[in-house]
């Protein structure tokens, strides 16, 4: 009985980790390639949830929204990178990106408010994922198991993509030495645009998946972006594996903290982050700049 309860809590934390991972991995990829902290990542996540909601409302298919929403949002991300970020690459000052993406976060959330209105949109769990699974005598929602499976699949898929494909090779090369890759005749700007789009698409996927759990509401991005920052900093900025480890750590702290130490639940996450930073300033798997 106790064992079942613990298992249920772990599964719950892992499903939370899956959603956080979708956001954090995009954030860390973008940082690794471009040295940009994308403050708009929370707003992008929110945009994914809203676009996904609309696709479900129009076509009635949840699976289709899982496929289309990331494509749409990824395209938005690529457009933003192309128009706004690229002119700034020559500037020495890294703070400019932080400020610009913060501006984008404001503009995006406002556009979402204007387009979709202020009412929270309840995107129900699709019928085929609505069931309850009994794990060691504890009932557990099927949808959360689906999240864990999908998160795992995405982690393995992205990892294989980065390690085994030519595009992945280029991405890793650009993150190590962009000038050299450029000198060898690769269009580095294209890689950057692609990675920014990919990161945004992953966040959008997280948004579509999170919407049935929390409903899509304005402001769903403002807290989640901070969680994602904490994850990326704990794991090490730019480290893909680090974002996976960070997601799992943070979600366990959140879920267990919310259950056992309610007053400290919020503070726990930041304690974890500060501890990691004081011991290893670059994060668990990151390099110190």
């Amino acid at each position: 009985m106790i064992l079942g309860f613990i298992l249920a809590q772990c599964l719950s934390a892992l499903s939370q980790a899956a959603i956080l991972f979708f956001i954090a991995c995009g954030l860390t990829l973008i940082f690794g390639i471009m040295r940009i902290v994308n403050f708009a990542h929370g707003a992008i996540f929110m945009l994914g949830a809203y676009v996904g909601f609309t696709i479900v409302a129009v076509t009635g298919s949840f699976l289709l929204s899982l496929l289309l929403a990331p494509i749409v949002v990824g395209a938005v991300g690529m457009g933003f990178e192309r128009i706004f970020l690229r002119p700034l690459y020559g500037r020495r000052d890294g703070g400019a990106y932080l400020l610009l993406t913060f501006g984008l976060a404001i503009v995006l959330s406002e556009l979402i408010r204007i387009i979709w209105g202020t009412q929270p949109l309840a995107a129900g769990i699709p019928d085929f994922l609505r069931g309850i699974v009994v794990v060691l005598d504890q009932p557990f929602p099927l949808y959360r198991l689906f999240l864990i499976a999908l998160g795992l699949a995405a982690a393995i898929g992205l990892w294989q993509f980065l390690e085994r494909t030519r595009a992945g090779l280029l991405i890793r090369a650009v993150s190590q030495n962009a000038e050299m890759v450029h000198a060898l005749g690769t269009d580095v700007d294209l890689v950057r645009t692609g990675v920014f789009g990919l990161g945004c698409a992953m966040a959008a996927l997280g948004g579509v998946l999170a919407a049935p759990l929390v409903t899509a509401f304005l402001g769903m991005g403002t807290t989640v972006v901070i969680d994602a920052f904490v994850i990326v900093i704990i794991g090490g900025m730019g480290s893909f594996l680090g974002s996976l480890i960070g997601s799992i750590l943070v979600s366990f702290v959140q879920v267990l903290g919310a259950y056992y130490f309610q007053d400290l639940a919020l503070a726990f996450m930041y304690f974890l982050m500060l501890t990691v930073l004081v011991i290893r300033p670059g994060g668990l798997l990151g390099k110190e700049d």
Binding site: L98, L100, L264
Partner: protein, 330 residues
């Protein structure tokens, strides 16, 4: 930069206008005016870090919140005279700032921004932990403005409070101006332009950055304390990262590294926001777009644009030629 007599004249005229304002504008506008001045002070405090050390703090809400909550607790629990309470709140904020700044200044750039953000969020989270002192999500309400010392009561009314805030703003501005023009400030500029070189010259840059952060927190805490005593309440939102983001926008749009620019940025944004939000709900969209435009096309901000035009006059151009090139390099 505007120099010498013209600067003194401009400051005198501005001060005169500000002193006369309560007799000109209606009482209800005074409320928004006070809030605007407080936000101007808050933005100027952040400029010490952003403009002079190029340390982008994304957690300056911590200074505001700390000042506000310290003042709230001191004034409600201890019933000390208002000026004493505010001074104590500033001191508390500065003392708390030193260890935080020491840890944060270990890194620069993006990591610094993230660390400051984490500390501010930690402060936000702690408000809910120590519910019995901070009031949790309700915050602290009914903050009094106790009279004294020496039986002073002039700051209890709205007009009097306006003069208190105005005095604090002018005093802080003069202090910050003296700081950035002192040898200490010159070292800060050195850190901004080339930290490695400054270290090689024998300066302990981390100590300088920590001291500057403590000062920035002190002035930010002053703004927070003034706000809490004026509004009569302190709520957790004062600690939230959106406040940090807003004030950073004001600094950048106003003109980082000029002190005056961020003050104007803070004052005008509170005003425009107040006016426009009554006419249209598109204000945040406009606000965000203007901000993005400034980051892209005019990183020197409004005040930077104005003074560049001013400096473009031939008789002044030569005097500031050195300044200009260093700005351009930045």
């Amino acid at each position: 930069m505007i120099r010498g007599t013209s600067w003194k004249a401009a400051l005198g005229v501005t001060a005169g206008v500000c002193v006369l304002l309560p007799f000109i504008v209606p009482q209800y506008s005074l409320t928004i005016l006070i809030e605007a001045l407080i936000f101007g002070l808050f933005a100027m405090s952040l400029d010490l870090l952003v403009g002079y050390c190029r340390l982008y703090s994304f957690g300056h809400a911590a200074a505001y919140g700390l000042g506000a909550y310290s003042a709230a607790i001191i004034l409600t629990q201890l019933q000390l005279p208002l000026p004493v309470g505010i001074v104590l709140a500033v001191l508390v904020t500065m003392v708390v700032a030193v260890p935080i700044a020491w840890i944060c200044t270990r890194s620069t750039g993006v990591s610094f921004a993230m660390l400051t953000l984490a500390f501010a969020q930690l402060g936000y989270a702690m408000l809910f932990r120590f519910r019995d002192i901070t009031g949790g999500s309700d915050g602290i309400v009914g903050i009094p403005r106790p009279s004294g010392p020496l039986g002073m009561t002039w700051f209890q009314g709205k007009t009097g409070y306006y003069y208190l805030v105005l005095g604090c703003l002018f005093g802080s501005y003069l202090m910050c101006r003296a700081i950035v023009r002192s040898p200490f400030g010159a070292v800060l500029s050195g850190i901004r332009e080339n930290e490695a070189k400054t270290i090689a010259l024998g300066y302990n840059t981390r100590a300088y950055k920590t001291a500057t952060a403590a000062l920035a927190y002190g002035f930010g805490g002053l703004a927070g304390a003034l706000y809490a005593a004026f509004a009569g309440f302190a709520s957790p939102e004062l600690f939230f990262w959106l406040v940090s983001g807003r004030v950073l926008i004001m600094v950048v749009v106003g003109g980082a590294g000029t002190l005056i620019g961020p003050i104007l940025g803070g004052v005008f944004f509170v005003f425009i926001e107040h006016e426009l939000s009554q006419v249209t709900d598109l204000w945040p969209l406009i606000f965000g777009s203007i901000f993005m435009a400034f980051v892209m096309f005019a990183p020197e901000g409004i005040w930077g644009l104005l003074t560049r035009r001013f400096n473009a006059r031939p008789e002044l151009a030569s005097a500031d030629a050195g300044n200009e090139t260093s700005d351009a390099a930045a």
